[in-house]
Subunit: 343 residues, 3 copies
């Protein structure tokens, strides 16, 4: 879809998205805005009655509505109001500024290569033998270590750090403060102290991956730590050495994936999930918030709890766990009654 | 209170804080020090018998004591010994050095403005249209993105990163490695892959806010992610897109506030608390360590557990949860007795 | 042991490690590799049948085997195959590049001292009175604050940040994005707002310590936050103000050590362990994943759960906690039976 910059008239938006206009075609909106915001020149969306109530109680200017909903505000009824809203987000998106070419302050090793169509920002360092491919963008203060490769159209936001031998696929995005390729956490106790196990492996990041701010992906002890195509990591995710994460898997904040574990494709991990070391999950597994996986999960499905169980079972246990005083009282009552009966 | 630099005599301190001196007025101390430290030129404090016992067992030189306590060490009895100790901390505080003006290595976009009374450290980058207001301090290696505003007297410690459209209120402090304004975590599955939902909103930080090291505050999808005045975030806090945190709320390390949730004013969140998305809390709510909030909390009070319950109920459940083998044994015994009675 | 760079023949390796060669002495391997990797020029190891099965199913070229194991692949039987593998990791280890001396872009305060044998990378800042001792390595983009000391042979990887008065012992390693010396999290509520308690203490890091990427060690309020010799911290560890961590203690990712707590020597903390403030642990304590320590642990041993209990008891409770619906059903059955008996 062609990107049409703001402002937009409702008439234009109704035509663009093929929706039914309720209100003046000339009504003009400046930006997509949350449905509950007091922004009279914003347009929000309501996909159900709950969203609609929030919107009606606010001063938002106009709305995309799902079929069957109606508002006293100017509105456009469309099949998928959230998708129309997403399109306006995309039209309004303004990338962080970055001048083309190599900033004069950047330090590029003479054996590194930077494609003429790539961007390297102020104070970035590109080490020995690293390669920055076409249209890749390296913002300010990045460190691109020896032998790293940044794929076509990939992005390192300010303060991203790649140690050695980190390979980033095309169009992948690494947010600020993410650290890729630091040493895996391995020591051997020799009777007196811990001796470091040297970590010589790499990090392999596929295409269309996004890595959140302040997320860490450690290099492998030997071999590679792998994020397959389409993986999305939130902020504060820990991916330990030799982990492999299957394609299109998503991990929310504070997820901890321990050494040598493997997640299948299209897994969804809610916040603060833990995977112990050397276990695996099947494809299409969903793990609820704070789930702890300690043994292999071999079947697709939704799991929850610590240790992980099928979600239905786990949620029963979790609910009862909040009612333990009642359970105890019932046991006490039974004990008294038994005593009574025994007399 | 006027800042009086060390060293101090006990006579001076007794006069300054209006306390009762027990010991030589000429006894000189160099610094405030923990009560249990072996620092004969340090002065600590004891607000109760427990602190006093720790202090007496150490070589600390002198003490501020609460009324009713006495020590064999030189001491000053005052109403609030901790506050006197805090005043000495303040007198001893030595800010990180930062030369006035703009460091010659800093890269400031020509459309950005830096107040003549502000400081910008080595290797910092200030992008298009950003504004650094009076007496604001930007330490080394910071990134101040397009359209950001750093309020009067606000501070960015080394390696703070602001993406676009991050507005920091007066006197607020952002510690090293904090990332404000990175993209919120939003995708739509199109049947084959996750498509990024563009994040075009801002981050609005009030006045007198403090943001810990390595904490992340994501920009809003549309609209703003908001930290109101006086909010204090510890290290490793995750604030997702479109969250609003009420004034004077405090969040300890590893707190995770999911998308579009709203915390009331004067909330206190202990370590590793989670708030799921789209929920809210009332004002004056306290959440114990590891509490998980999954539904709105409408009443002030203390809550605990996962899911959150009033703390008294929750702590009963948590205690019983550590005694489940005993519960099981009692059930087994009951079962046997019933079998006996049925015969 | 002398470092022998790859490639290696199996004959050479058998001689070097004193092992029994099974296969051609001239078979050449290029690198240590995970036992399950399809790397025909790699050598892995198998210490038991499980590892051996993984290796046999892969295309790895050769193996170190524990006594009693045999493979159809070229192999060397040795007492400790993992140690031989570790030796090859060490032989293959290639440090991040860093030119000797001070990079011309680095900004060194005139009152700071850098040993002629030390390294300071591009864009690093060394502040007033800081000292970089012999053979210490400061990679690019580091900030070494006022009065810091970096010990002999110590390393700051790119983007490490030391605030003021952080002292790092000999041979210690600080990974990228680690922040040492930020303010401890302390405020006093004055009835209207939280007033900052100034933090004036230091951070003291012993010798042979390793601090993971994106880990935070806050400075003390007064006195020092201390990591004793040989401490190893993973990524995302939070060490609050005035904590002391005993020698050779290891803390895995997302460990949170609250203010003024003290861990004994040789503790092992698995992932996401929490220690509340002002408690202590004995020497030789092991804490399982997600353990929460709320009171002093006075005896060595293995603990688990929240709150922490001896691991055997805790694991019984944790298992029963996943079977609460069954417990409830048994209680219900008892209640019915009692009702029947009472009639």
């Amino acid at each position: 879809m062609e990107k049409i910059p703001p402002p937009w008239t409702l008439g234009d938006l109704a035509a663009l998205f093929g929706g039914d206009l309720h209100g003046p075609a000339s009504f003009t909106v400046q930006r997509p805005a949350p449905s509950g915001s007091d922004d009279p020149t914003g347009i929000g969306f309501a996909k159900n009655d709950k969203y609609l109530a929030t919107a009606e109680a606010s001063n938002i200017g106009a709305l995309f509505l799902a079929p069957g909903l109606s508002s006293k505000k100017p509105s456009i009824v469309v099949k998928n109001p959230q998708a129309c809203f997403g399109a306006l987000l995309s039209f309004s998106h303004r990338p962080l500024p970055l001048a083309s070419g190599i900033h004069p302050t950047a330090v590029i090793d003479e054996t590194a290569s930077v494609d003429p169509s790539a961007f390297v920002g102020a104070f970035s360092v590109v080490e020995r033998g690293a390669r920055i491919l076409a249209k890749a963008r390296v913002f300010a203060h990045c460190y691109v270590g020896e032998g790293c490769v940044l794929g076509e159209g990939a992005t390192l936001f300010p303060h991203a750090v790649l140690y050695q031998d980190v390979h980033i696929g095309a169009r992948s995005i690494v947010h600020s403060g993410a650290i890729l390729g630091a040493d895996g956490f391995g020591y051997v106790w020799d009777g007196k102290q811990r001796v470091k196990v040297h970590q010589i492996g790499s990090v392999e990041v596929g295409e269309d991956v996004e890595i959140g701010a302040l997320t860490a992906v450690d290099r492998a002890t030997a071999g590679a730590t792998v994020l397959e195509d389409g993986v999305k990591l939130d902020n504060f995710v820990q991916v330990a050495h030799n982990v492999r994460i299957g394609e299109h898997t998503v991990i929310a904040a504070f997820g901890g994936i321990s050494g040598s574990s493997r997640l299948g494709a299209r897994n969804t991990l809610a916040g603060k999930v833990d995977i112990v070391d050397h276990v695996s999950t099947a494809d299409d597994v969903t793990l609820g918030g704070r789930t702890a996986v300690a043994t292999n999960i071999k079947e697709p499905g939704v799991y929850l709890g610590a240790p992980a169980q099928p979600a239905l079972e786990a949620s029963k246990s979790l609910i009862i766990a909040t009612k333990l005083p009642e359970l105890l009282a019932r046991i006490r009552k039974l004990e008294k009654e038994i005593e009574g009966l025994k007399k």
